[in-house]
């Protein structure tokens, strides 16, 4: 009897713990002007010039502003810190009229000298700042730096030439060659305006390079004192735990509804959903397709969709025969049952792609050559190419990854493989983990046929067609001077109407030449609790929270 009671003491204690926990049952509801957003990781740094990741951009866009912005929900370039701009000298010189009376959150004025201080800072980066992991977007948009360091491998020569202060509210950016795509690129967080005073005070350009060659900032600017003109300011940042922004009381525009905006890093997708269901966060991005039905059926949650701004592609490498034969590439295009794949695996959130750029972007052509599923035509084309059926191809697909444009690559591969088999091919599968094995193999030009894709960074067709096809690349393995030159011309043309015509022509050429087969554009989803209003999903991955409120 006594012994039995001891056993029950243990159980009793357990029960007590449960009761105590229940007694402390918590209310997770946060204050009505506070929003907690579940991010997938901590930002790398809060200095736009030094980042290329989405989670840094998500925070930076709340703190800083660029000369131009994207109209909410679109990729149309609209005024921000610049109220208007004008190109001259054939697109080589851009003069920006700046918004007057704007101050950085440290109280210093935003003016033409601040604009030039920022451009000159980027252009004058040396040493490990020239590393593409640090200044990826500068190198993508503007190329090289003032001092060419052959050891760094950064490109020689820069699109940027100089910045001139015309008067306090007018600045001119001079380029070394005409470019129009650079204007849209100025909406990227990497080109946002930062307080020159705060950067100097908190050592934004200070750092050392350790034995591994990794740049190590010694200043506190990018971690504790980011200073911009945006609607929010940094209050505190505890890595792995939370990043807290508060409303900027001196913001020049409409003040943010939220007084506090907190980003909480949660790497695991299922954990983000459970945290949302439990009220610990009020929203998160990158909703997995398998969670969509759970969110839709939960009365407390809602789903928002981004306009499609990505493309899924079946790539073909022309350096690996017989992909150099146009008839074979056409046979692949006719042999891919794209409609069935989009219907089956995208949960109603995808449309079949006809071009390499999304339809919402200017330059999309209406009358390109299309390739509806037709296995008989594929076989005929293969025979016309003088090949014996079935034609063996090595088809690469990634594992352990989910991208907005391919939530489940394995299923895409299986369906495409089946339809290609009917079309006269013998498909040899080649699977590899997405990053870095798969991407490395594809970009090194080792993959013959492969699943690939892209999510746009800013509203310019150069960010789609140009990224892939403006220059020779191992992964496509072709040298088509006509395509390279029209895409370069389209990027540099200052007049919008002419650019549109050039990109339309380029898209028609691309769909004739068929370096790959675009197959899907999708709408990625975000989840929020029902009481969150005012969030306008942007086609690019980041957007402002200033219009958001918690009801």
């Amino acid at each position: 009897m006594r012994k039995l009671s001891r056993a029950s003491i243990v159980l009793g204690l357990l029960a007590l713990v449960v009761v105590a926990v229940a007694y402390g049952a918590r209310s997770h509801k946060s204050a009505s002007d506070t929003l907690v957003f579940g991010s997938s990781a901590d930002p790398v740094a809060l200095d736009g010039a030094l980042i290329s990741d989405g989670e840094s951009g998500r925070v930076i866009i709340q703190i800083y502003e660029g000369l131009v912005a994207l109209k909410p929900g679109t990729t149309n370039v609209v005024p921000s810190l610049a109220t208007s701009w004008k190109a001259s000298a054939g697109g080589k010189s851009w003069t920006f009229s700046l918004r007057k009376g704007v101050k950085f959150s440290d109280g210093t004025p935003f003016n033409a000298s601040a604009v030039c201080a920022n451009f000159n800072r980027w252009y004058n980066f040396t040493g490990s700042f020239q590393n593409p992991s640090a200044t990826y977007y500068w190198q993508t948009v503007f190329g090289g730096f003032k001092t060419y360091d052959p050891k760094s491998g950064a490109p020689k020569g820069s699109l940027f030439k100089s910045c001139k202060v015309v008067n306090a509210s007018t600045a001119t950016i001079n380029l070394t060659s005409a470019s129009a795509s650079f204007l849209g690129a100025l909406s990227l967080p990497s080109f946002f305006m930062e307080s020159p005073t705060a950067m100097a005070k908190y050592g934004a350009n200070q750092g050392s390079v350790d034995a591994d060659g990794v740049f190590h900032p010694t200043g506190t600017y990018a971690t504790a004192h980011p200073t911009g003109t945006g609607p929010f300011m940094l209050q505190s940042w505890t890595r792995g735990d939370k990043l807290v922004l508060v409303r900027n009381p001196n913001y020049w525009g409409k003040p943010a509804h939220l007084s506090t905006l907190i980003f909480r890093p949660i790497a695991d997708n299922a954990a983000r959903l459970q945290a949302l269901q439990n009220g610990e966060i009020q929203g998160y991005d990158l909703v997995e397709p398998q969670d969509i039905s759970t969110i839709k059926s939960d009365g407390n949650l809602k789903l928002l969709s981004r306009p499609p701004f990505n493309v899924g592609i079946v790539g073909m490498n022309q350096s690996i025969a017989p992909m150099n034969n146009l008839k074979v590439r056409q046979a692949v295009a006719y042999g891919l049952d794209r409609q069935s794949v989009v219907n089956a695996f995208y949960g109603g959130r995808g449309v079949v792609a006809k071009e390499f750029q999304p339809p919402s972007l200017f330059g999309y052509a209406k009358n390109v050559k299309t390739y509806a599923y037709n296995p008989a035509k594929s076989r005929a084309l293969l025979k016309a190419a003088g090949l014996k059926l079935p034609v063996k191809i090595s088809f690469w697909y990634p594992t352990s990854v989910s991208r907005p444009y391919m939530p489940d690559p394995t299923k895409n591969f299986q369906a495409f493989s089946a339809s290609l088999t009917k079309a006269g091919f013998k498909v040899v599968p080649h699977a590899a983990p997405w990053n870095p094995d798969y991407l490395g193999g594809v970009q090194d030009g080792k993959a013959q046929v492969y699943l690939y894709g892209w999510t746009g960074d800013f509203g310019d067709p150069d960010d789609f067609d140009g990224v892939f096809f403006r220059t020779p690349q191992n992964q496509w393995g072709f040298h088509n001077k006509a395509i390279f030159s029209i895409l370069t011309k389209a990027r540099d043309e200052p007049t919008l109407s002419k650019r549109i015509a050039l990109y339309q022509q380029a898209n028609r050429m691309l769909m004739d030449f068929l370096p790959g087969v675009p197959y899907v554009h999708t709408s990625p989803a975000l989840a929020f609790t029902k009481n969150v209003t005012g969030y306008v999903p942007s086609p690019v991955d980041i957007q402002l929270f200033s219009s958001v409120s918690v009801g």
Binding site: K3, G24, R26, D210, V214, A267, A271, Q274, P436
Partner: protein, 336 residues
């Protein structure tokens, strides 16, 4: 005793040297590079070459290793490639969280596992015995991430009793002088924060403690069954000692010897960071840190982190060996 400790500490040198070579070669044998991992689809052969060059990854592996060894011997563990913070700083931020979680999981598994195993042995072949065996089998066989999801679903999403992610509620602000959140809450004198931190610990500790709980229960049960039949127990009973005294002073104390070995090994494992548990609960410890580093091919963090974890495991094992002498005076450490 001292000789034993010194000898064990000296043994640490070849162990760490061997481990460092293993880790160094292993992560470089993985396909891909930090450059590829950093830039993803946006990497080009030029940028990959550039980053490899800057990080010295294009040099022969023995040159890289020699440089790494020189740096490490001066306690320079390098800088994280993704966050650009010193690895040592990040360990200082992350390790306290892992220690707190490990202690909570160890308490959970020891305080429940030892009594459960003891009473199961005392009630050998009764319903209680079978149930406790069943619980331990369940604890060993259920995957942690699944248990974590179920626990969160029941106690957080359905019942709303406990939080699902993190170490402390985002709306609570306390200074973190030590990075041990329980200690920080006590130092701040903020009981609300303390209770919040404890609540955040419960589910991850239960999930993480499930395997040690099962192991400890089974070992305790087996050890008690063994010891119960020893001659000295019969003698103790025969000379009329109260059953409770026999159980506590003779049975349990002798049975605890194998149990302490297991506890030590398990705690060593817990301290090395629970990769799955920390990831599923977004718990900012060593485990979730290393997981991210491996997927980012963040060489300095993987190298420094694993080396650190190895040192911890070796030290915990040393402590376990020393504790033998305390539990059982018959064992003399370093004896002939």
């Amino acid at each position: 005793m001292l000789r034993f400790v010194v000898r064990r500490l000296l043994l640490l040198v070849p162990i760490l040297l061997g481990l460092s070579i293993l880790v160094f070669v292993w992560i470089r044998a993985l396909p891909g590079s930090p450059a590829q991992a950093l830039l993803g689809e946006r990497a080009t052969p030029q940028t990959i070459h550039q980053i490899n060059h800057q990080y010295g990854l294009d040099k022969p592996i023995y040159v890289q290793y020699w440089r790494y060894l020189k740096e490490t011997s001066q306690l320079k563990l390098g800088t994280s490639i993704t966050t650009r913070q010193p690895v040592l700083t990040e360990i200082g931020q992350r390790f306290p969280a892992t220690v707190e979680l490990s202690i909570a999981a160890a308490l959970f598994s020891i305080l429940i596992g030892i009594p459960l195993g003891f009473f199961a042995a005392k009630r050998h072949r009764t319903v209680f015995d079978h149930v406790s065996l069943g619980i331990s089998l369940f604890g060993i066989s259920i995957p942690i991430f699944f248990l974590a999801l179920i626990l969160k679903y029941v106690f957080a999403v359905r019942l709303g009793w406990l939080p699902t992610v993190g170490q402390i509620s985002v709306l609570i602000n306390i200074p973190h002088p030590t990075n041990f959140y329980i200690l920080d809450a006590l130092l701040a004198g903020n009981m609300g924060a303390l209770w919040d931190v404890v609540q955040h610990l419960i589910l991850p500790a239960v999930a993480l403690g499930s395997i040690p709980l099962a192991v400890i229960t089974r070992i305790t049960r087996a050890a008690v069954l063994d010891v119960q039949n020893e001659d000295y127990i019969r003698t103790a009973r025969a000379k009329g000692l109260a059953p409770r005294i026999v159980d506590l002073r003779h049975v349990l104390r002798n049975a605890l010897l194998p149990v302490s070995t297991i506890v030590g090994l398990q705690v060593g494992l817990l301290l090395s960071g629970a990769i799955l548990t920390e990831t599923v609960f977004a718990y900012p410890g060593i485990g979730s840190w290393l997981r991210q580093a491996i997927s980012d091919r963040n060489y300095p963090v993987i190298q420094g982190g694993i080396l650190f974890v190895a040192i911890i495991v070796v030290f915990v094992n040393l402590l376990v060996d020393i504790s033998y002498g305390l539990i059982n005076p018959r064992i003399r450490l370093g004896g002939k």
